[in-house]
């Protein structure tokens, strides 16, 4: 199994990373080397069914008032690259999209 240059660029887009020619070349080599190693998994007869869950058997549930919101030593504005009035500010998206942003998912 190997990953093509196109696939690397598509994956980079999904992960919001830019790669130069040289980088995608190097990465292509590295990733394929790793994938070849990982392909040993395909020879493995893995049983179908339940994955192994780490930790508790079931999700703990909190009651109302059960855990206080973690008080913050300083407000979110302090860490933000751009915070104006009471809002985080970001450059606008190229074409609007988002959970309820004119209704469309990005």
């Amino acid at each position: 199994m190997s990953i093509t240059r196109e696939e690397i660029l598509q994956v980079a887009k999904l992960a919001r990373l830019q790669l130069t020619e040289a980088e995608s070349e190097d990465l292509s080599h590295d990733l394929n080397q790793i994938l070849r190693y990982v392909d040993t998994l395909t020879s493995l007869q893995v049983p179908d069914g339940e994955r192994l869950w780490m930790g508790p058997r079931q999700a703990p549930e909190r009651e109302a008032g059960g855990i206080a919101p973690d008080p913050m030593a300083h407000p979110p504005a302090d860490s933000a690259p751009d915070f104006r009035g009471q809002f985080f500010v970001v450059p606008s998206p190229p074409s609007l999209g988002g959970a309820d942003d004119q209704g469309a998912e990005p």
Partner: protein, 476 residues
């Protein structure tokens, strides 16, 4: 070519829990921006989700109320995409193993009852709000809403007309309100709807290509957009074209659909089970208890009201519009011992008052016994019907009871001849021209005279007694 319209709906409902789904922040609508946030819903490095038990209970109740199978194990999954109001870069939702599946909502349309199947209901967290027109050079982001619990309800493509879709939504909303799990307010965003629309030739088994319609702000927008999309699709198909699977945005102002086809590739959400949350396991006892605690839902209440109180269907539909209204109505019936007057007064004057002051019937300051008392005072003639409605208005404005108001303002209906005669005499003296006209044959003017006496008596004259008295005087 005979086309069959096929509609499926995806509805997102905010649960009115005290806290968010995975952290303890409040969920109050309209709070100051970025004030209901903490490390968890801000997606700060190192923060972790902890599930809200109340949200799970609400979701289970909703699923049971919609006739679903609630699963004893379900899994939270991460749905990845980048957007400024999605702090973690993924939404915690449920994908392969949702909370509930296979429900039914019955919808009355064209005199028939259609069962509309619910494919699935799952829990997920809401995203924040991105506001594009607040700052000139960018987008403003408010994360208060991030993490608020939602249930996503997906129907099977069982709806066949736009009005059906609307009726379905009304029934769904009403059921959720009865369950008290959500405010179901489309304007505030606690209820959101997307429609999936496709066409196929009548009699065909397979479904056609479906498009997704978004940005619907009301049930009527759902109805109108579906009509518009059906028309658009028919236009393409009849011209020999093919429907492209895409997302369309509804523009409320000009009633058009706009394609969202963007240059970007289709989304790969890369769903996988969230390793920060073990599976949600529900024991049978809990589900049974929640089932037992379900209130009587509209689908059951409607036929019962019709049966028990001999109501006609239209009246009953009005009275079950909300749980509080139905409860109120039944309380008035219990006080009066009969339903007829209760129906008229509740669906008429009381709802008018509720509308006037923009409050719900149980928030008017007129508890059911008080309304019942007023009704009895009208029935026994103490005040006229018209006066009674005025008294109701004053009850709403002052919070006082009917007897208190009638006493204080001396509003009781006058039926006794002496006082009435005095007013009648006065009116006859002041309206000689009309008296002549009446006596020359314009007997319709009786209404005018009644009106004049009512004015003079400031509404206190009993119109029934009055008519007889007037005629007697005028005819002589």
């Amino acid at each position: 070519m005979s086309w069959e319209l096929v509609i499926g709906l995806e509805i997102h409902v905010q649960l009115r829990t005290a806290e968010k789904l995975f952290c303890s922040d409040g969920t109050v609508f309209g709070a100051a921006p970025n004030s209901q946030v903490c490390p968890v819903c801000l997606g700060l490095p190192g923060a972790l989700p902890v599930l809200n038990g109340e949200a799970v209970d609400f979701a289970i109740s909703a699923a049971l109320g919609l006739g679903c199978q609630v699963h004893d194990a379900s899994v939270f999954a991460r749905k990845s995409y980048f957007y400024p109001d999605l702090p973690k870069g993924y939404q915690i939702t449920q994908f392969a193993e949702p909370l509930a599946t296979e429900g039914i909502v019955s919808v009355r349309s064209d005199g028939q009852t259609r069962p509309i199947r619910i494919r699935r209901i799952h829990l997920e967290e809401d995203a924040g709000k991105s506001i594009h027109d607040r700052v000139p050079d960018g987008t403003a982001v408010d994360l208060n809403r991030t993490g608020v619990p939602l249930i996503e309800i997906v129907t099977e493509p069982d709806l066949r007309t736009a009005p059906q879709a609307r009726t379905f939504l009304q029934e769904l909303k009403r059921t959720l309100e009865y369950l008290d799990v959500s405010d179901c307010n489309m304007e505030e965003g606690s209820l959101r709807v997307d429609a999936n629309v496709s066409l196929r030739t009548r009699g065909a088994e397979d479904y056609g290509v479906k498009t997704e319609v978004k940005n619907l702000n009301s049930f009527s927008a759902v109805e109108r957009s579906v009509v518009a999309e059906e028309k658009r699709q028919i236009g393409i198909l009849e011209a020999g074209g093919r429907i492209v699977q895409e997302t369309l945005l509804w523009d409320e102002r000009d009633g058009t659909l706009r394609s969202m086809r963007s240059k970007e590739e289709s989304h790969d959400y890369r769903y996988f089970p969230d390793p920060d949350l073990p599976p949600l396991k529900l024991d049978v006892e809990r589900i049974r208890r929640l089932e037992a605690e379900l209130p009587e839902l509209p689908a059951q209440r409607l036929p019962r009201l019709i049966r028990e109180h001999e109501l006609d269907e239209r009246d009953a539909e009005v009275l079950i519009a909300s749980r509080s209204l139905a409860d109120y109505f039944e309380a008035v019936v219990a006080e009066l011992g009969e339903a007829r007057d209760a129906v008229n007064w509740v669906k008429g004057p009381l709802l008018k008052e509720a509308n006037r002051v923009q409050r719900s019937v149980d928030d008017l300051g007129v508890p059911a016994p008080n309304l019942a008392a007023l009704i009895e005072l009208v029935e026994d003639g103490t005040v006229s019907g018209t006066m009674g409605r005025k008294v109701l208005g004053q009850m709403v404005d002052s919070g006082k009871t009917a007897p208190e108001i009638i006493e204080a303002e001396g509003l009781s209906q006058v039926q006794g001849s002496d006082e009435l005669s005095a007013w009648v005499e006065a009116v006859i003296e002041e309206n000689t021209e009309e008296v002549d006209r009446y006596r020359s044959g314009e007997t319709r003017l009786i209404g005018y005279f009644v009106g004049q006496v009512m004015q003079k008596s400031r509404g206190r004259a009993d119109p029934k007694a009055l008519a007889g008295l007037l005629r007697g005087r005028l005819d002589s």
